[in-house]
Amino acid sequence: MPPAFQPIFKLSTKSMKKKLTLIVVMLLTGCAFAFAQTTVSGTVKDDQGGTLPGVTVTVKGTTNAVSTDVNGKYSISAPGNGTLVFSFIGFNTQEQPINNQSTINVSLVAANKQLNEVVVIGYGTQKKSDLTSAISTVSVKDVANRPIVSPEEALIGKAPGVQVTVPSGQPGADLSIRVRGVGSPNGGEPLYVVDGVLTNDIKTLDPNSIESISILKDASAAGIYGAAGSTNGVVMITTKQGTKGKAKIDANFYTGTQQISKKIPVLNNQQWLALQTEIGGGTAPDLPSYYNLGATNNNWQDIIYHSAMQTSANVGVSGGSETGTYYFGLGYLNQDGIIEGSNFDRYSAKFSVSQKANSWLTFGGNINFNRTNSRTVPQNASAAHGGTILAALVTPEYIPVQMPANAPNPGVYGTSNLYSGENPVSDIYNNTNNTIGNNLLGDAYAEINLPFGIKYRSQLNLTNENSNYQLFIDPYKSLVGLSEPNGYADQNYSETTRWAWDNTLTYDKTFGLSKLNVVVGTSALDEKIFLSDQNGKGFGSSDITTLNAATASKNVNSSNYEWSTNSYFGRATYSYNDKYLLTATLRADGTSRVGVNNRWGTFPAVSAGWKVSNEDFMKNVNWIQDLKIRASWGRTGNLPPYSYLYPSYTQLSPVGYPYNTSNAANGYALTSQIGNPYLKWESANSSNVGFDAGFLDRRIVVSADYYYKKVTNMIFTQTLTGTTGSKTIASNLPGNDINKGFEFSIDGSIVREKDITWDMNLNMSFNSNVFTGLSAPQPSAQVSLGGSGAGFNVETIQNGYSLGTFYGYKALGVDPATGNELFSANETTLGSALPKFTYGIAENLRYKAFSLSLLFDGVYGNKIYDATRQETDRLNGATNESTAVLSRWEKPGDITSVPSAIGNGSGNNTSNNFLNSNPTSYYIESGSFFRLRSASLGYNFDPNLLKQIGVERLRVFVTGQNLFMITKYKGYTPDVNSFGNGTNNKSVNAGDGAPTILSLGVDDGTYPAARVYTIGVNVTF
């Protein structure tokens, strides 16, 4: 535990004394009294002495009210025997008897967030103190000060049980969220619910438009979403809404630079030549005269990595009256990639309104829209297959950027005569590509107050995402372009439109000591997907890049898909005497995505809480506050992968047959996949026990949970017997995917002084994953690795091991006598890509107007298959290698961990062949890391000075991201996953046959993460 916790005790006693003093003073001031109508004035401050503008001051029992001015001053006419009520959002409401005083100065105490914070749960909200399930809420206030591109990024290191990984540093790349481990071999991403709208991703959202994020981690919380509730948890996002009062304008701007944080040293030309000579068994490679080893020294990493700009600006306007509020926001982001040529920009707009029409009707809605443009560079592929990152490592330095005049094909991008594959500059610039995305997420609702205190809400949701990818490989600039032949163009368009209609009735009632809240509802959801892909070859010019200029090999494909669900759900929350809490939910889902014979499923959940601190016997216990013990059980589901959108049916594919050689007839043949009308959703039974408690007058707040989540009915592609023609079928195979773990979070308000505050949060999550009950090991995702691009199964799914367990031969070290790497006789498990624990530490310090925020995060105990090294350290082939091979074995007796290169080129070294054609532990490394994810230093200008120029708040800041990292990992960054998030919950993979099992922890030439430095400003008018 960090030493920072030590001083808490001293400081807190001091502050308790202060509070007592304050109470005494307040009691004394209330002693005198008089009764005439009088004018009362005064200043309202916060508990740290700052003045509070906008506080509502009301004479109790009347409608007579004023607001404090910009200096926190007020003046109100009131009876001398009356009482003033001071209320302000975020502060505890305070009542002050006037007692004929003419001046009443008040210090409002900030509301205890832990107690009064309202948390968004499915189809409603709940006071955080009343929660009985495992829900983490994440503050997103720091988003405005950090170079955060996507909302998921705001969760990094913030919440226990929530691991956010950055699979790639490519601008605009999807991030990956894992809630309590990976809940299915078919995918680990949670369900997202934005303002009540269910969606698979949140790329629609500008992170600056988010008000709050809560993560439903256990089945009691997520169960209300049933089959879509996802065994991977639910991320609930509420976007910014308008607030009552005069228009408030918030503007944020930052700009900065990004740099690569690490380069991997590679061989220079002479070292390459020496290595090649060894590989050739003493024979140097034969290089044509147009290569010049002496004069051409291209450091490819220096050539392609550059300092890249990142700029963001956004503005939000909010305001409203007693009857209606609005929020309007605009955002712009431009992120150049640290690799030349890559870029992402986003234009976003957001609009929210809410209007109370009359005593019984309120209506409103939200629209979030953005348009993105991205230009990517090829990654996650070997150099031979156009992967830029690997090409920058393995292209020898003597290769020219462009071929000289005396070479064949002069002027085209430089290549080697010894191996196939382009240099990295060619990989970037031999093509143009651009993806334009338009993303819309919106909703409209009406709320009607019915008799008997019942509230009816009807909400219509819409998401629309389209993406248009255009690629043009220039016909003449590179060998790749020439060999297509003459260029290649591809246009890929996808559009996913989803609507949903939710209707709920809510009943909220207090009967004496009992409180009851009941929600019942229905939901209907329908999604339509359109996919099309066109490509062609044979371009006569570099100028026209669209497919109308293609003359050969034209291919055209388009397809439509659709799915729907229909749901009934209900939840009852009951509390007695604010001590005993009980919640029960039930959802029934019918969906087209499962087999026709198993259309409907029910998902129950229950949870209970006991507010121990509210018991009489705790009255005299002062060292602990708000102690609550929680327990829950429930069931959630995963819909089958998008690739099995119609699992019930055996599909036919169009084929032709040329009768008479020339009378081509169109026909249909059965595809190799048999329909399974019995296919069910994957389901998870989860249990959770936990507690929340405050200590030292809530200066320390602790939350801890233990959970056990068992996923059954896992969906695998089963290959049937040969007598069916080796057909495949989507099946719920026997077996369990169990995640169990312990997680906690500690919030400490270590220093809370007028000039200095210091808050910190520590959260840690221990998760262990294991498979049991499988009837046979399942092949994991096949990954194309290595220079040859040969397919490897680097992972296995088998009983007693976790998902992402690497499987292959153990490398046993280099035999000093022969220089050969030795390997185990049989394949074995080689560690897991899943970490043993993850953690985050957030520090927020304020000294007067300066504030410093630090965010550390880390993972421990995971392994990475460093497939990059499978190319850079392969001791074979004619490509360049990393300087790690300089310590290779060269003569008998050498003690080294790097095997011999001598004669490997002949193909006779079985040890080297083995290393290059099998998954082995030689390339498996520790993926543990500890990093400073973000550090931000800000300065708040004096509000009193700002007032004079009409500004409410002005803050300037400098922020650094990924400033340092401690890791043993040899590649660019251990926060990596080449084969990312899985493809099964993405609509663009609709109907493509077999789902892909998640492959975890593989680094195969992935775009490295950047170190970012920004300066910026936040201003409020």
Binding site: W360, I448, L450, P451, S458, W501, N503, L505, G521, T522, S523, A524, S558, S559, N560, Y561, E562, S564, N566, S567, Y568, T591, S592, V596, L645, Y646, Y649, T650, Q651, L652, S653, P654, V655, G656, Y657, P658, Y659, N660, T661, S662, N663, A664, A665, N666, G667, Y668, A669, L670, T671, S672, I674, L720, T721, G722, T723, T724, G725, S726, K727, G991
Partner: protein
């Protein structure tokens, strides 16, 4: 106000129910993929389904265009396989395959995949009520499908022996059938072919060659009966084909192969390739191109000696082989054609039109020689001699000198060998000749030697071919997936 509230209460209840009342809301069927559920409704659907079954003759691992050449001519004394797959192809050359051989298990499944396409026609077309589908055409469609099913079962039963009889695509959860006795498989094949014989016309439907005809059914019946040892029935169906008048020998053997000669007058059943809808990639692996792949099924030393012994160096010999120096060392078997790697070897020359050569499954010369074999076995030596000489004459070689039944049996076997190189019949010819005592197949295979006279040492570990290896093994993976299967003896 109160009225409004009551109205709203009612509206709420309606709205709550509305979103969920339509049951069909969650019944979705694919829009861009046809599924069996909404297919098989019209006359055109019936034709399309049958076309799908024909198309499948060209799919999978390429049984007819590639692997069966290895399983038959390659495995026999006709050719050296010379593949680049040491694990799966080399053991086919040496007759040392094991149950783990993925080529064998792959093609076993491919044959069943082709059968399932025919079965889906047979399952569904009878239920089509479209009046546009006449009873006659419906019966023909079923007959064509049953021919395709019979053809695939012929190869399963002759190469693997007892094999599961799967006759429907309505598995009802039963994916693990038992093996059926050889006699039962033959009975099913004969039933299918007799149905085809009864319902198909002598000419293909719509004049479209490539479709099964009565002649194709009869030719295959003749082959099935021959393989069963029933020469009487064999001869009946041979004669039906020969005297039916639908087929005539192509005058010049040189005009039998190549895309220009697709669907010639001699062809009884062939698989159609136009290079677009269907693509014959298989022939690219036999014919010597400079694409770098090692070419399969190079004529064996023994085969060339057989041509020489008959003095056959005319159009048949020249159409069958293409002598060229290999671009790479011949790998299998080592030194089969001598130690000089630059010396020309006899590549297959029957399939020179990459992509568009049809595969001739059965042609008239094959049936005439089969008739000769049946006549000889049944004691009609004169008829046998006439038929044998008819083929020899076309090939440009002198009439046979064989007189006795046993000599004639050898002469006919040899003639079939020379006539049908790389047409996938040699292995089954040898099995028949072994069964009726003309030759001993084990002795024959174990006496194979290379150009230097050295024995090729076939069999497991070069220990000689054993009788169990005359049948392929059931795949290891298949035995694990299907506990009802048993392995062939000796594996």
């Amino acid at each position: 106000m109160r009225n409004i509230k009551i109205f709203l209460t009612c509206a709420t209840v309606v709205a709550l129910g509305l979103s969920a009342c339509k049951k069909s809301f969650i019944d979705k069927v694919p829009k861009s993929n046809l599924v069996t559920k909404n297919f098989y409704k019209t006359a055109q659907d019936a034709e399309s389904a049958l076309t799908g079954a024909y198309n499948y003759l060209t799919q999978g691992y390429g049984f007819y265009q590639y692997d069966n050449h290895l399983f038959t001519d390659g495995r026999s004394d006709n050719c050296y396989i010379n593949g680049d797959d040491n694990v799966n192809e080399w053991p086919l050359e040496t007759l040392s395959y094991i149950p783990g051989n993925t080529k064998l298990s792959g093609e076993w499944a491919t044959l069943y995949a082709m059968i399932s396409q025919a079965n889906s026609v047979l399952d569904n077309v009878p239920n089509i009520a479209d009046p546009a589908l006449t009873a006659t055409r419906k019966a023909q469609i079923l007959a064509e499908a049953r021919f395709l099913r019979a053809l695939n079962y012929y190869w399963l039963v002759t190469e693997w022996g007892p094999t599961p009889l799967v006759l429907t695509t309505n598995y009802n959860g039963n994916y693990t059938p038992k093996r059926a006795a050889v006699a039962d498989v033959y009975a099913q094949i004969i039933a299918d072919l007799q149905f085809a014989d009864a319902n198909l016309l002598p000419t293909p439907a719509n004049g479209e060659k490539g479709r099964a005809t009565q002649g194709a059914a009869d030719a295959l019946l003749a082959k099935v009966y021959a393989q069963m040892g029933d020469y009487t029935n064999c001869l009946t169906y041979c004669n039906k084909v020969i005297s039916g008048g639908q087929y005539s020998l192509v005058a010049n053997y040189a005009n039998l192969f190549g895309a220009a000669n697709n669907n010639n007058s001699e062809s009884i059943f062939e698989i159609e390739f136009d290079g677009t809808n269907t693509y014959n990639w298989g022939n690219g692996l036999f014919v010597q191109y400079t694409d770098g792949w090692p070419k399969r099924n190079i004529g064996s030393y023994d085969l060339i000696q057989a041509f020489k012994a008959e003095g056959d160096s005319g159009p048949r010999y020249q159409t069958t082989f293409q002598w060229q120096a290999p671009p790479a060392t011949i790998t299998m078997p080592a030194n089969a054609w001598g130690t000089d790697a630059t010396k020309p070897v006899p590549y297959c020359a029957k399939y020179l039109d990459f992509g568009t050569d049809d595969i001739v499954v059965m042609r008239l010369a094959d049936i005439i020689l089969l008739a000769a074999e049946a006549n000889n076995q049944l004691g009609n030596l004169a008829a046998a001699t006439t038929e044998l000489n008819q083929i020899r004459t076309r090939a440009g070689v002198a009439n046979t000198t064989a007189v006795t039944k046993s000599d004639l049996a050898l002469a006919i076997l040899n003639e079939r060998r020379l006539e049908l190189v790389n047409e996938c019949w040699r292995w089954n010819d040898l099995l028949r000749a072994n069964a009726n005592g003309t030759i001993n197949i084990l002795t024959l295979m174990n006496s194979q030697h290379d150009a230097t006279g050295k024995l090729l040492q076939y069999g497991v570990n070069g220990a000689g071919v054993d009788a169990n290896h005359l049948l392929f093994p059931i795949g290891t993976n298949e035995l694990q997936l299907n506990p009802n299967l048993t392995q062939n003896p000796g594996y």
